[in-house]
């Protein structure tokens, strides 16, 4: 189907590296409720990319990397300044700085194009990502950044965890809150900037959020979540790269994003504990249980009134008490051996009475209700 060539190897390696680092750092961003900071950082990187190119006149990865990092930091600073020093809320500040920086990047991009003739600079690749443009030196830079990011997180694991969960308590223990937050945001920016060539600025948000959000559904431990997010990120990266290499000229970025989004979607639906399907199923079970218990207690009440533990309750009576049709519940109770039906008087409806087990269950239920009240 496709050739496993040199370029593809580069692309896959790069995509995997990007997936791992953005999965790990995205987990922290997600838990710190800064999911869209990644979006802003990515969009804001564009003017830096252009300036890096303008100043050096080449597509060398390092100046572009540094430029992107600087303009991302500037945008993050602008956002923070707007939220802390003006009456704008976070969402408006984020949206404003994201779009303004991007617009400025665009102006620079067209400036470069008009100066150097056609789009030979190839900077358009940064919009949606252009995997084919990846060269080994890019991959090396990505590897360095990914390893540095992972090492930092591994070393400061305990500190980052505490900072993310309870920043006030962290500060009270003497951990410097602001520097740690800045560090975490900076390595996030690193991961984003190295991913620009692959995914592009527009879709970057998803590769930060989706693997982390997916991983969160599968695990209740931060360590496992971060590990899974790295795995999901790598999976999305590699499958996106492979798909795009399968011919047809599909852009790599959108494919990586679709892969990551599908992983997130599947996790949200099918994860065993937090998955929406599992919890809907559980909710249905609980509801059914509750309905069943209501009928059971109705029967218990009637039996109590008649001082006869095996008092046969008429189904019409139960219907009136239950306020609906209790037949399904009665059948389930019967199947569970908690009730049994009797024929009482011909011409009346079916009668049900509690079994001994049913009586005991009703008393237990009442006890536990009384205990909670």
């Amino acid at each position: 189907m496709f050739e496993f060539d040199f370029t593809l190897r580069n692309v896959m390696l790069g995509a995997a590296l990007l997936g791992v680092s953005s999965g790990v750092l995205g987990s922290f961003a997600l838990l710190r409720q800064q999911s869209l900071l990644g979006d802003a950082l990515a969009h804001a990187a564009l003017p830096g990319v252009c300036l890096g190119f303008l100043l050096t006149g080449s597509r060398e990865p390092l100046p572009i990397f540094v430029g992107a990092l600087l303009s991302g930091a500037l945008a993050a600073g602008f956002t923070m300044l707007l939220t802390s020093r003006s009456r704008l809320k976070t969402d408006a500040a984020l949206g404003a700085s994201l779009s303004i920086f991007f617009a400025f990047g665009l102006v620079l991009l067209t400036f470069i194009q008009s100066r150097s003739g056609s789009g030979q600079a190839g900077l358009e690749a940064f919009l949606f990502g252009q995997a084919a443009a990846i060269v080994p030196s890019d991959v090396r830079l990505m590897a360095v950044v990914a390893v540095a990011a992972l090492l930092t997180v591994a070393l400061l694991w305990k500190e980052f965890k505490l900072l993310t969960f309870d920043p006030q308590f962290a500060a009270s223990l003497g951990f410097p809150r602001l520097p740690l937050e800045l560090l975490l945001t900076s390595i996030l920016a690193f991961a984003i900037v190295i991913g620009l060539q692959l995914v592009g600025v527009v879709l970057m948000a998803a590769i930060i959020i989706a693997p982390a959000a997916a991983a969160r559904q599968w695990s209740d431990s931060l360590g496992q979540m971060v590990g899974l997010a790295a795995l999901f990120g790598a999976l999305a990266g590699v499958s996106g790269a492979l798909l795009s290499a399968s011919g047809r000229g599909l852009a790599t970025g959108p494919l990586i994003i679709i892969a990551a989004s599908l992983i997130a979607l599947a996790s949200l639906l099918f994860a065993p504990e937090r998955g929406l399907i599992a919890s809907a199923y559980r909710a249905r079970g609980a509801r059914r249980e509750l309905e069943q218990q209501r009928v059971l207690l109705d029967m218990y009440g009637l039996a109590q009134q008649h001082s006869d533990p095996s008092y046969p309750s008429e189904s019409g009576m139960l219907r009136a008490l239950y306020g609906g049709s209790p037949e399904a519940q009665l059948r389930r109770l019967e199947a569970a051996g908690l009730a049994e039906h009797t024929t009482h008087v011909p011409g009346e409806g079916t009668h049900y009475r509690l079994t001994e087990a049913g009586w005991a269950r009703a008393e237990a239920a009442l006890n536990s209700l009384g205990h909670h009240a």
Partner: protein
């Protein structure tokens, strides 16, 4: 004459930009005030999917279905985001970041696969081609009118009508959704209408400015306006004004520098935002700084009189109400001590003892201290 104007790019292009700006900031004002700005970001990206789908189905480049398709996908975006948020599995911001890139990526891939080299190419998706907006024309009563002017004019009118008709309801639903619901207005319906109009605006403006620049037009002018005034109608008016001014200035600058017209217009909205942020009359950074300085001086003087008031009738007064106590107990440095005591004396709040060491409250100082001390006693 009219035709000459309507086929003149240097008239049409800034006019198109202005219309985009006006239509966007009309709906944007309410999004910004509601704290839903990023939904504008999400919608303006995901309407692309609507455009692509309608194109693939109808094969038509100009079809009224675009509006319907875009509105549908825009609302779908909002709906999915809220569904995810409400499920409690992810927070609201993450939900936005999950939904719109997904829809946008699908759209880009669909373009890649089915619609390459046609009307929609991926660069135009992001950047728009406002510079060519004067080329596509339709004939209206024998006059050639640019398409963009017609559609954007209609949408601007629609948005203005919506805001005008539902001004009171929008105001209430924005600032107090609970009360709006209690009074029988449906804030949810209004909200979805607003977001529907945002989607319609997005699809109409897409050709001209593309997804990301549109975000600037929706969010930035209202944000800048919000920093300048407290009144809703003034926020709307200023937002519109800023959008129009940005379009004109942006156009001129872009022509001069030979760079992206839409981009420069968006940058201009940013310039207005920064200006409002720095120099706004009440909320601007400069005004705030002056206010802070005043406040800090005032607070220091108040801290001093409260301190003196607190101790003056007790036995430790001799120790506490002295210049050296300000250093040792309040932990003020010499400069601050001499500055604050100078201000206190200037304002007639305190007097110095004979050795310039003891501090005494004047009646005015005592009054001020009591005001701070027991605010609930004030009328």
């Amino acid at each position: 004459m009219l035709e000459a104007l309507l086929t003149n790019p240097s008239v049409v292009v800034p006019l198109v930009g202005a219309l985009v700006g006006v239509a966007s900031s009309l709906v944007g004002t309410f999004l910004v005030l509601r704290g839903s700005s990023l939904l504008a970001d999400a919608i303006s990206h995901s309407v692309l999917l609507g455009i692509v789908l309608v194109y693939l189905v109808t094969g038509d480049q100009y079809s009224p279905f675009f509006i319907a398709g875009a509105a549908a996908v825009g609302l779908l975006t909002v709906f999915l985001t809220e569904l995810l948020t409400r499920s409690g599995r992810v927070k609201a911001d993450a939900a936005i970041g999950l939904v719109y890139p997904f829809l946008f990526a699908i759209a880009v891939v669909l373009i890649n696969v089915f619609a390459r080299n046609v009307h929609i190419d991926t660069d135009a998706v992001l950047l728009g081609e406002i510079g060519f907006s004067w080329l596509d024309t339709v004939s209206v009563g024998g006059v050639e009118v640019p398409n963009a002017l017609m559609t954007l004019g209609a949408v601007t009118l629609l948005n203005a009508l919506f805001v005008g008709l539902f001004y009171k309801e929008l105001k209430l639903a924005t600032f107090d959704p609970g009360l709006a619901a209690a009074l029988g207005f449906s804030p949810v319906l209004l909200y979805y209408l607003l977001l529907g109009l945002t989607s319609v605006t997005a699809v109409t403006a897409f050709d001209a400015v593309g997804a990301v620049l549109l975000v600037a037009f929706i969010i930035v002018p209202p944000s800048a306006a919000y920093l300048l005034t407290d009144t809703l109608w003034k926020t709307l008016a200023l937002g519109v004004g800023i959008a129009v001014a940005s379009s004109l200035l942006g156009y001129l600058a872009a022509i001069w520098l030979n760079v992206s017209i839409g981009g420069t217009m968006a940058v201009c909205t940013g310039v207005f935002l920064v200006a409002a942020f720095l120099f706004g009359p009440r909320y601007g950074l400069v005004a705030q700084r002056a206010q802070r300085r005043r406040q800090q001086g005032e607070n220091a003087a108040r801290t001093l009189v409260v301190h003196l008031y607190n101790h003056e009738s007790k036995e430790e007064a001799g120790r506490e109400n002295s210049v050296s106590a300000l250093r040792q107990h309040l932990r003020w440095d010499d400069a601050k001590v001499s500055q604050v005591t100078a201000v206190g004396r200037e304002q007639g709040l305190i007097t110095l003892g004979p050795k310039r060491e003891r501090l005494f409250l004047t009646d005015a100082g005592r009054r001020l201290a009591r005001e701070v001390w027991e605010p609930w006693r004030r009328e």
